[in-house]
């Protein structure tokens, strides 16, 4: 029931109490219902049911309406008009509601009503009076604007909620609790989005306090959020929580008015990114260090190499004058075409650039760089630029050249010197030989693979132990390996080798490598042996000669009456021996012509040419025969001058023939003097007779006789024409002949 008190309440919602009293006092003067409606500030009307029965049973009449309503609906005064006339479409619906309100005797709030213009109204129907009066007050509110705002708000909230949950970042609203000192002590999660748990690692956080989860959370977190709550200033930061074991990227902002202590926290767990970043930073730092230590020059080239974009020369290179003409600035003219060709090839294939190039150095000299560059691609896979690094290899280039030159010199030297060089990897048993090494062992160069066993195969069996023990000794004592040994070539030829080597050891003291060289000393040994032999032979001959002269001197002694005669004859014989020596030396190794000996001996005692005749075929005498025969002719000629034909007007016929006896040629020589007036017969056996009759049989296995006839001396000699050496020989050939096949004592075998 609408009472004054009720109405009063209605007023108080809109106006002050003073106004309300004023309205009520004015309604007393007019019809109470109309007055009330007219007085209401809001749109209102009073409807009365037309009839309980009959045709008007479902219709209502406007008993009153106020100007607010007329303005709201854009109509004039509706008093007295029928509801059905006015709103035929809605009359039935409103009738039911009006009737319900009248019968319920209490206000009925109708669902908002939207008219054809989209305006929304809200109506409150209140029964007026009591009993069977069917009078209803309708208060109409235009809620079009409120409804629109409500809808918008609902939509915004829905969008917000969707967004709230849709974002990948963690988002929460927390309420900060400050302690008595005003410091932020903890915070409570008021709301959390879906991603919150994954990002924070905190499950079911809503409604719980942070310290419940992490009692040891670092104080700065509370301080930061407290600051946001206190000042309302948003903050963005990245911080690690060691307690939570995570890195967070955080944006915190006030979620309510200052004093509400609400803070929204938008955050992301960046632990992984941070780790990646750290790794990347470390990696970059390492790379930078590496580039810095390993390269002397770092550069960037444009994609087509026409422009040198950056150049860090570390003082090695001077910055060029023109980046687009870098090649002229940095590369000597002679090398430019080759470099341009190399660059062109890299550009054509997008292959890394890797060249050793000569460059003009800052100090004015030309140096060498080992320069490498790789293409840097953009996202589309196209070359964006080239990044390059270069290292100064001037010194190593020079060393390389020196080494190459040294190696070449060594190679030439070893080849010329016939030095065989080996390089033996003791661990892998791999071995390398120089060409000469193969040859020294009697192999063709690279005929077989160099190996220890290939070496052992050629070592003389008698020297095998010595070689092995020398190797072992060198290895154990770390001394130089020195060994002289024989090798046997495939043809059976024995060569002497002198080898020297050195083991190399690793840090553990194990032998890992051995280097060495060897030469063929066969010829040297032969020469040494030959020299030794010559000295031996010289010594032998000197001693033998002295011994022989002593013997001859003694044999001569008994045939001379006076010392003067003895000395003359002895000197004459020594001179004859001297002539033999000279003759043998003139044609060393060859035999001596018999007639030459004859003439020379006759000439030596000044025999006139017409006093003798020489007849006989050409005969070559061995040194031994020449020695004996020269002395024999000397004796005969000397005696002839003294006692016979040459001392008188006599004549000597010297003739010889060759007689073959038992496959050996014998020389039969005859010395016959004629026309000697007085022949003196020596009473004793003279030196010459002894020579002819004793020496020839003794030394030459021949025969000899000396007879003195009335007409003069007749000497006949016969001996085999065999080879034989003389103590008077001085040529090498004689020694070779004498010693060649049956050498003496220690020289039986070369050692």
């Amino acid at each position: 029931m609408l009472t004054l008190a009720n109405l009063r309440c209605c007023f108080t919602q809109q106006r002050g109490p003073g106004d309300c009293n004023d309205q009520i006092s004015r309604m007393k003067d007019i019809h109470p219902h109309n007055a009330i409606v007219a007085a209401l500030p809001q749109a209102a009307c009073l409807l009365e049911r037309v009839s309980a029965e009959g045709e008007g049973a479902k219709d209502w009449r406007y008993r009153a309406n106020n100007t607010a309503m007329q303005e709201m609906l854009g109509v004039g005064d509706l008093t007295g008009q029928l509801l059905r006339d006015r709103f035929p479409d809605r009359a039935d619906e409103w009738h039911d509601n009006l009737l319900r309100a009248a019968q319920a005797q209490r206000p009925v709030l109708l669902r908002p009503y939207t008219d054809q213009n989209g305006n929304v109204y809200e109506m409150t129907l209140s029964p007026v009076g009591g009993g069977d009066t069917q009078l209803v007050l309708a208060l109409i509110h235009d809620v079009t604007e409120a409804e629109r705002k409500r809808k918008e708000r609902a939509q915004a909230e829905a969008r917000f909620k969707t967004l709230f949950d849709a974002i990948d970042e963690g988002l929460c609203v927390v309420e900060i609790r400050f302690d008595e000192a005003g410091e932020a002590a903890d915070y409570k999660f008021v709301d959390c989005n879906r991603a919150f748990e994954a990002q924070s690692g905190l499950a079911d956080a809503k409604g719980r306090w942070m310290r419940e989860f992490e009692p040891d959370l670092e104080p700065e977190w509370f301080a930061i959020y407290g600051e946001v709550a206190a000042t309302g200033k948003p903050i963005r930061f990245e911080l690690e929580s060691q307690a939570m074991g995570r890195w967070f990227d955080v944006y915190a902002f006030s979620a309510g008015p200052v004093g509400s202590n609400l803070v929204a926290i938008l955050f992301e767990d960046t632990s992984e990114r941070k780790a990646t970043e750290n790794a990347l930073r470390e990696s970059e730092s390492r790379l930078t260090s590496l580039i810095n230590v390993s390269s002397d020059v770092v550069y960037q080239m444009s994609a087509d190499w026409t422009e040198l974009r950056e150049l860090y020369g570390k003082g090695l290179l001077l910055p060029g004058a023109d980046p687009t003409n870098w090649i002229d600035d940095h590369v000597p003219a002679d090398d430019r075409p080759a470099l341009e060709a190399a660059v062109a090839e890299c550009l054509a294939n997008n292959t890394p650039f890797d060249e050793e190039i000569r460059v003009n150095r800052a100090d004015g000299t030309v140096g060498w760089l080992r320069s490498r560059a790789v293409p840097v691609l953009d996202d589309a896979g196209k070359v964006r630029e080239w990044f390059g690094m270069a290292t100064d290899i001037t010194e190593s280039k020079a060393t390389e050249a020196e080494l190459a030159s040294g190696a070449e010199m060594l190679r030439v030297a070893t080849e010329i010197g016939g030095v065989g060089v080996w390089d033996w990897d003791v661990v892998t048993e791999q071995i390398r030989w120089s060409d000469a090494h193969f040859e020294l062992l009697g192999y063709e160069v690279n005929e077989i693979a160099a190996s220890l066993s290939a070496f052992r195969d050629r070592v003389h069996k008698d020297d095998f132990e010595a070689v092995e023990s020398a190797l072992e000794h060198a290895r154990e004592t770390r001394q130089e390996y020195v060994c002289d040994f024989r090798v046997v070539h495939p043809g059976g030829e024995v060569h002497w080798i002198s080898a020297r080597g050195q083991y190399l050891y690793n840090a553990d003291g194990k032998p890992v490598r051995m280097l060495g060289a060897m030469i063929d000393t066969t010829e040297r040994r032969r020469q040494e042996e030959w020299q030794k032999l010559l000295v031996e032979e010289l010594q032998h001959r000197v001693r033998n000669l002295i011994s022989m002269i002593r013997g001859m001197a003694r044999q001569s002694a008994s045939t001379h009456r006076t010392l003067e005669s003895y000395v003359d004859h002895l000197i004459g014989r020594l001179q004859a021996m001297g002539r033999t020596q000279a003759m043998l030396t003139r044609s060393p190794g060859a035999n001596v012509d018999l007639s030459s000996i004859m003439r020379e001996e006759l000439l030596a005692c000044a025999a006139p040419e017409k006093a003798y005749r020489i007849e006989g075929p050409p005969v070559q005498l061995s040194p031994q025969l020449a020695e004996v025969l020269t002395l024999a002719i000397h004796e005969l000629a000397t005696n002839s001058v003294k006692y016979g034909a040459l001392g008188d007007k006599g004549y000597i016929k010297i003739s010889w023939t060759i007689i073959a006896k038992e496959s050996t040629n014998h020389l039969a020589l005859r010395w016959q003097e004629t026309g000697v007036s007085a022949v003196t017969k020596p009473s004793r056996v003279g030196f010459g007779r002894q020579l002819i009759e004793e020496r020839i049989p003794y030394e030459l296995q021949g025969t000899g006789s000396l007879t003195i006839h009335d007409t003069g001396v007749l000497a006949e000699m016969s001996f085999p024409l065999v080879d034989g050496s003389s103590v008077l020989e001085t040529g090498i050939e004689g020694i070779e002949r004498q010693r060649g096949n049956a050498s003496l004592g220690a020289s039986e075998e070369v050692r």
């Binding site: 002593r550 034989g724 003496l744």
Partner: protein, 136 residues
């Protein structure tokens, strides 16, 4: 004069040089030596032993185109000691013959006689003819 230290000693001389051979022969004969033979070349040993025993052989090493080492070995096989008289150094003597006495040329007569006497008195008399077949 050298005392006849080697009286009755039978010695074979092998020396290719006539004058030296004569010299040694004369020297030894003066010392009482019985010269079994004086040869310029290696002789037929059996042939000599048929005629006479040999107490000592005095050998030159170099005999023209041969050496006397093999002959020395043959003598040794018969138990006959030999003495080398040579212009060579002692080092040329092969190891298996280095027991033999060695005299360097040119040698004093006394040195030769002393050496031969030494060898002769060292040679065990009992076995002196052991390896030799002396025919009377």
């Amino acid at each position: 004069m050298v005392a006849k230290l080697l009286k009755g000693c039978h010695i074979l001389i092998v020396e290719d040089d006539f004058y030296q051979a004569q010299d040694i022969r004369d020297t030894l004969q003066q010392a009482g030596v019985e010269i079994v033979g004086c040869r310029a070349t290696v002789p037929d040993l059996d042939e000599i032993l048929e005629r006479s025993k040999i107490d000592i052989a005095l050998l030159d090493i170099n005999l023209g185109d041969t050496q006397s080492f093999d002959f020395a070995r043959a003598l040794d096989a018969k138990g006959i000691p030999c003495v080398f008289l040579t212009g060579y150094d002692v080092t040329v003597v092969p190891n298996d013959l280095n027991y033999a006495k060695f005299i360097s040329k040119p040698a004093e007569a006394s040195a030769v006689i002393t050496a031969l006497h030494q060898v002769h008195s060292e040679a065990p008399k009992a076995s002196g003819g052991g390896g030799q077949q002396v025919k009377s």
